[in-house]
Each structure stands twice: as structure tokens, then as C-alpha cells.
């Protein structure tokens, strides 16, 4: 009864609009928190596009990892560092900045246009704005690919992440100053630095 293609086109149009508006917001808005929120909107738009292509798993991971963890971390840092007001964000403009930015942006645009119009198999071998790219569901395919063909790369990545976590812990830990044992109240504060070590 319903023209599915119409529904699909509408979905694509709305999701694409959300993506582009969000992307513009990331660049144009002056408040870092608003920027981060615009980024969330873009990520959501992309997630909707994934769903339109029946890649449910990718959509869920997009929301959980990017919107749910990474941008929350961004916001967390913005709030903790207190750069959450527009005026603290003023930066000097580098004379070359505009030129380099323009060239890079233009290059990406041209690249995208070429990929779009060049033909079916240019970038990934498949193309589709809406509709499934693969016959079986994406969860199985991703799982199989990760744990068979790319198992080595997968394990290397997890090793890299573990090392990164250890590094972060080491870096954030300063040796100087006596740390506070959290299980006891400090009798008196030795100095201001000691508090920061545990915090």
C-alpha cells in the first residue's frame, strides 16, 4: 500500500539533514558544549542511515560507543576544564589557517564527489543510499570477519588499547607527594598537591 521507496527516500532526506545540520553546528557554534551536542546529532543521523541500510548492529554500536561514550567523555573534559563558555574559546587566527583549511576541505569535497559519481565499485565495491548492502545480517558478518580474517589485527588492536590504558594510568600518576589513603580521613592536609594525586 505504501510506496516503500518514498518512505526510504524521506528517511534518507531527514537523516541526511540532521547529519549536515549537526556537522555545521560543530563548526559554527561558539560554545564547546553546543559543538559537542551538534556532534551527537550528526552521529545520530549516521546511525539512522545505518538502520536504513539494515545495518542494525553498526547503528547500535555507533550510538553506544560514539554518542554514549566518546562524546560524553568530551563533555566531561569540557566541563571539568571549565572551557565551557564561549569567551574562553577565543584563539588567534593563523594567517595560513584559512588557506590550508580551504584546500583540505575542498579536497575532501572533490574526493567525495568523485567517489559518488565515478561508478558502482569505486570506494567499497558496493553503494546504496537506502536498502541493505548485504544479504545476511551485519552482526554475523562483522563477527565472522573480525574473528577469522582479521583476527590478528583485532588482537593487535586490543593489545594497543591495553597499553594505552596502562600508559594513561602511569602518566596521570605523579610520584611526588604522599598520596592519601582513601579508607581513612587524613588527619591534616599535608599540602595541596597530595590531594590531586588521588583525585
Amino acid at each position: 500500500m505504501f510506496a516503500t521507496s518514498l518512505v526510504q527516500t524521506l528517511t534518507f532526506a531527514i537523516a541526511a539533514m540532521i547529519c549536515v545540520t549537526g556537522a555545521l553546528g560543530v563548526v559554527a557554534l561558539r560554545n564547546p558544549v553546543h559543538n559537542a551536542l551538534s556532534l551527537v546529532a550528526t552521529l545520530f543521523g549516521v546511525a539512522v542511515l545505518f538502520i536504513a541500510q539494515e545495518a542494525y548492529f553498526l547503528a547500535a554500536i555507533q550510538v553506544i560507543v560514539y554518542a554514549g561514550a566518546i562524546v560524553v567523555l568530551f563533555l566531561f573534559v569540557i566541563m571539568l576544564l571549565g572551557v565551557d563558555r564561549a569567551e574562553s574559546f577565543a584563539a588567534e587566527r593563523h594567517p595560513l589557517g584559512l588557506a590550508v583549511g580551504g584546500i583540505l576541505g575542498g579536497g575532501v569535497m572533490v574526493l567525495a564527489a568523485v567517489t559518488l559519481f565515478a561508478g558502482v565499485d569505486t570506494a567499497t565495491g558496493r553503494r546504496s543510499t537506502v536498502g541493505a548492502l548485504a544479504p545476511s545480517d551485519d552482526l554475523n558478518r562483522i563477527g565472522r570477519a573480525l574473528f577469522t580474517e582479521y583476527a590478528f589485527a583485532f588482537e593487535l588492536t586490543s593489545l594497543l588499547l591495553t597499553i594505552a590504558v596502562l600508559g594513561a594510568v602511569l602518566l596521570s600518576r605523579r610520584a611526588s607527594g604522599p598520596p592519601i589513603d582513601l579508607d581513612e580521613f587524613p588527619a591534616e592536609e599535608p599540602d595541596a598537591d597530595a590531594e590531586e594525586v588521588e583525585a
Binding site: V7, V33, L37, A52, A60, V63, I64, F76, D137
Partner: protein, 397 residues
């Protein structure tokens, strides 16, 4: 596009009508359930504290929530001068909408015995008693619960006031920490069910084969504790610790916007209980008997009965337990729940492989337990060494 409900693939008028009906009924049912939950919580907590609780509006004070809602509706809507207006206005909705959406993937009824997968026939169409059944059902729940962080976090930040900001930073840290434990305890269920779809998970638990004992109780306990923390309910309600933070992230909110936060909080409690019932207690599974009409509604009755148990336990926890200190909260999440959930998951995975390869179960169990205990010993030794070294540094200084 309608592949989300696989039973509605041939889209026509009556199918769309059924979907609309399901959405409207789920929405209305959840709203009514929240009203009832607010009354229930106030009444039960009052009884636990030797009070009467609401008893004026309607029989047993059951209309109290309605009265409060009307009162809040007519109150002045304050906007703090320092507030970031667009975000301040947006935040309550970011809290409420995820709370609603989680309910979408919860199977509310239908017969799951004998491989019937909860399919019911309405108006000559076969469908499920849940609004949608995506392949990734349970990941959707996780996605929405990670979205709920935004509401709390942005509300606190946009108020432009220090107590809400402190509350929201605490909330974000707490919710992110416990999401890890939540996800890891969930893995055990997924390993057992072999599917992410909530419908499949419930189907796999038919005939008293509940995940609660199929996964060995531990994931259930971890999930329950992590869910309580994720909901910011007592004893994990540091987010709105009255004694330290005035009211936490919603200090500056008044009128209808405050009501939305309040609504979202209770709605989250209900949906999270529903998710626990779905994952561990077999959802609408239960004994079936009696005439045809009774058999049709019995699954929903079982579901509601199980739900009510958890709602009561949540209220009970609030009435009984003192609030955790912040470092205790973080220790519990990172040093106990996450390693426990991970270790248990590994043990279950070993059993699964043993089953596939035909190994002796007892040997797998013993070897697995020994390996995990060794791991636990190593971790506790590492933690102990670090603590001893810190103590030594302290003595030197």
C-alpha cells in the same frame, strides 16, 4: 524500512494500524504505570518508616500523583539567569525520551512455550506483543541507557550553578562506570541465548529454563546492582545526595521541567525492571491453564507479577540501605563488579566450548575455576602491592 518488525514485512493498512495501536497502548500503559509507581513507592516507603503516606486524594491516596502533576503543571517555570537556555530546555527531554524508548523492545506478553515465539494473532494478522523486535534488541537498551547520561549531565551543566554541576559530573562518572559492569553481566545472558533479540532471549527461557539459573545467578546479581547504580536509585543516589548537593542535577529545575525529570526517573525504574525480567526471569513465560481467554492474558499477568517483585525490591532498597560514599561506589564498580562479571563470563564461555567439544564438564569446571582464582589472586596481589607501596611512601613523607 519496516523490517524492524519481521512479521510486518508485507506492509498494508491493517499492519500499520496494529503498529500504531501497539505504540499508543505501550505509551499509555507506561504513563499509567509511572503514576502507579510513584504512588506505590511513596506508600511503601511510608509504611516502612511507620507513616501513612498519601491517603487523601482518592481511595488509598491513589490519585496523589495526579494531584502533584497538576500542581507542578501550574507552577511558575523558572529559568536561572546564568542558565544556558537552549540546553536547559532540552535536557529534560533527553532524560525522558530514552526512558520511553527502552520499553519498545520489551516483550509484554504472548505464548513462548513450544517454540511459538510469542506470536499472537490480532485482527487476522500475526504479530508480537512488543512494539518492535530489532535483531539488536538488547543493544538498543544499552544505547538508550547511555543516552540517558546526557539528560542528567546537560541539566547539571546548563543550570549555571555549582551544585547541579557537581551532581551531574558525579552522575556521568557513575553511569559510565556501571555501564561496563552492566554490559559484562549481560554478556553471560547473550552467551546462553545466542541472540541479541529480546524475543529470542525470552523464547530461549521457556519451560522454567530461566537465565537466572542457566547463567548461574552471579550475572543476575551483578546486573541488578549495576542497574540500580545506572538508575541512580538508593543506595547509589549520590547524584542527588540532598545533604551534600541540595538536589543534585535538577536543583534549578521547577514546574513542568522538574516533573519531566521525575517522570523519567520512575519510568527508568520500571523499564529497567522490565529488562531484568526479560533477561533473567523469562519475561512473560509461566504456567498456562484455564479457558482460552485466560490463556491469552496469563503471559502478561506473569510478566506484571515478576515486574512488581522488582519494583518492590527497588523501593525496599531505598527504604533500607544508607547511601554509599563516592570512593566506595567506584571501588564496588571497578574492583568488584567488573572483574566478577568478566571472570564469570569466561567460566561460562569455557563451559560452552566444553559442551561443543564434548569435554568432561567437571574437568572444565575445576580447571576454569582454578584459572580464574589464579587470575583473581594475581589482581589482588597487584592491588595489595600498590597499596603497600603507597603506604610506604606515606610513612617516608
Amino acid at each position: 524500512m519496516f523490517a524492524i518488525d519481521p512479521l510486518l514485512e508485507s506492509v498494508d493498512g491493517s499492519a500499520v494500524l496494529i503498529v500504531l495501536l501497539k505504540v499508543v497502548v505501550a505509551f499509555a500503559a507506561l504513563m499509567i504505570a509511572v503514576m502507579a509507581m510513584v504512588w506505590f513507592e511513596r506508600k511503601v516507603v511510608a509504611r516502612m518508616q511507620n507513616r501513612l503516606g498519601p491517603n487523601v486524594a482518592g481511595p488509598f491516596g491513589i490519585l496523589q500523583t495526579l494531584a502533584d502533576g497538576v500542581k507542578l503543571f501550574f507552577k511558575e517555570d523558572l529559568l536561572p539567569r546564568e542558565a544556558d537556555r537552549p540546553v536547559f530546555r532540552l535536557a529534560p527531554y533527553l532524560s525522558l525520551v530514552p526512558a520511553f524508548l527502552v520499553f519498545v523492545v520489551v516483550p509484554l506478553g504472548g505464548d513462548f512455550s513450544n517454540d511459538r515465539h510469542g506470536v499472537v494473532s490480532w485482527f487476522g494478522k500475526e504479530t508480537l506483543v512488543q512494539v518492535a523486535d530489532p535483531h539488536i534488541g538488547i543493544l538498543f537498551v544499552l544505547a538508550m541507557s547511555s543516552m540517558a547520561v546526557y539528560g542528567v549531565m546537560l541539566a547539571g551543566w546548563s543550570s549555571g550553578s555549582k551544585y547541579p554541576l557537581l551532581g551531574s559530573v558525579r552522575a556521568a562518572a557513575q553511569m559510565i562506570s556501571y555501564e561496563a559492569a552492566l554490559g559484562l553481566s549481560l554478556l553471560a545472558v547473550l552467551l546462553n541465548s545466542g541472540s541479541l533479540s529480546t524475543n529470542e532471549i525470552v523464547s530461549g527461557q521457556s519451560g522454567w529454563n530461566w537465565n537466572l539459573w542457566a547463567t548461574g545467578v552471579v550475572p543476575f546479581i551483578v546486573f541488578f546492582i549495576a542497574a540500580t547504580a545506572e538508575l541512580n536509585r538508593p543506595p547509589f543516589d549520590l547524584v542527588e545526595a540532598e545533604q551534600e548537593l541540595v538536589g543534585g542535577f535538577h536543583t534549578e529545575y521547577s514546574s513542568l521541567r522538574f516533573a519531566l525529570f521525575f517522570l523519567a526517573e520512575f519510568m527508568n525504574t520500571i523499564t529497567m525492571s522490565a529488562v531484568i525480567v526479560t533477561l533473567f526471569l523469562g519475561g512473560p513465560n509461566g504456567p498456562s491453564f484455564g479457558p482460552g481467554w485466560l490463556q491469552a492474558i496469563l503471559p502478561t499477568v506473569w510478566f506484571l507479577a515478576k515486574l512488581l517483585v522488582f519494583l518492590f525490591v527497588f523501593v525496599w532498597l531505598r527504604g533500607t540501605l544508607p547511601r554509599l560514599r563516592y570512593d566506595q561506589l567506584m571501588d564496588l564498580g571497578w574492583k568488584l563488579l567488573i572483574p566478577l562479571a568478566l571472570g564469570w563470563f569466561l567460566l561460562l564461555a569455557a563451559f560452552k566450548i566444553g559442551q561443543d567439544e564434548g569435554w568432561n564438564r567437571a574437568v572444565v569446571g575445576v580447571v576454569g575455576t582454578v584459572v580464574i582464582l589464579l587470575g583473581a589472586l594475581l589482581i589482588s596481589m597487584a592491588v595489595g602491592t600498590a597499596r603497600a607501596r603507597r603506604a610506604a611512601v606515606e610513612v617516608e613523607a
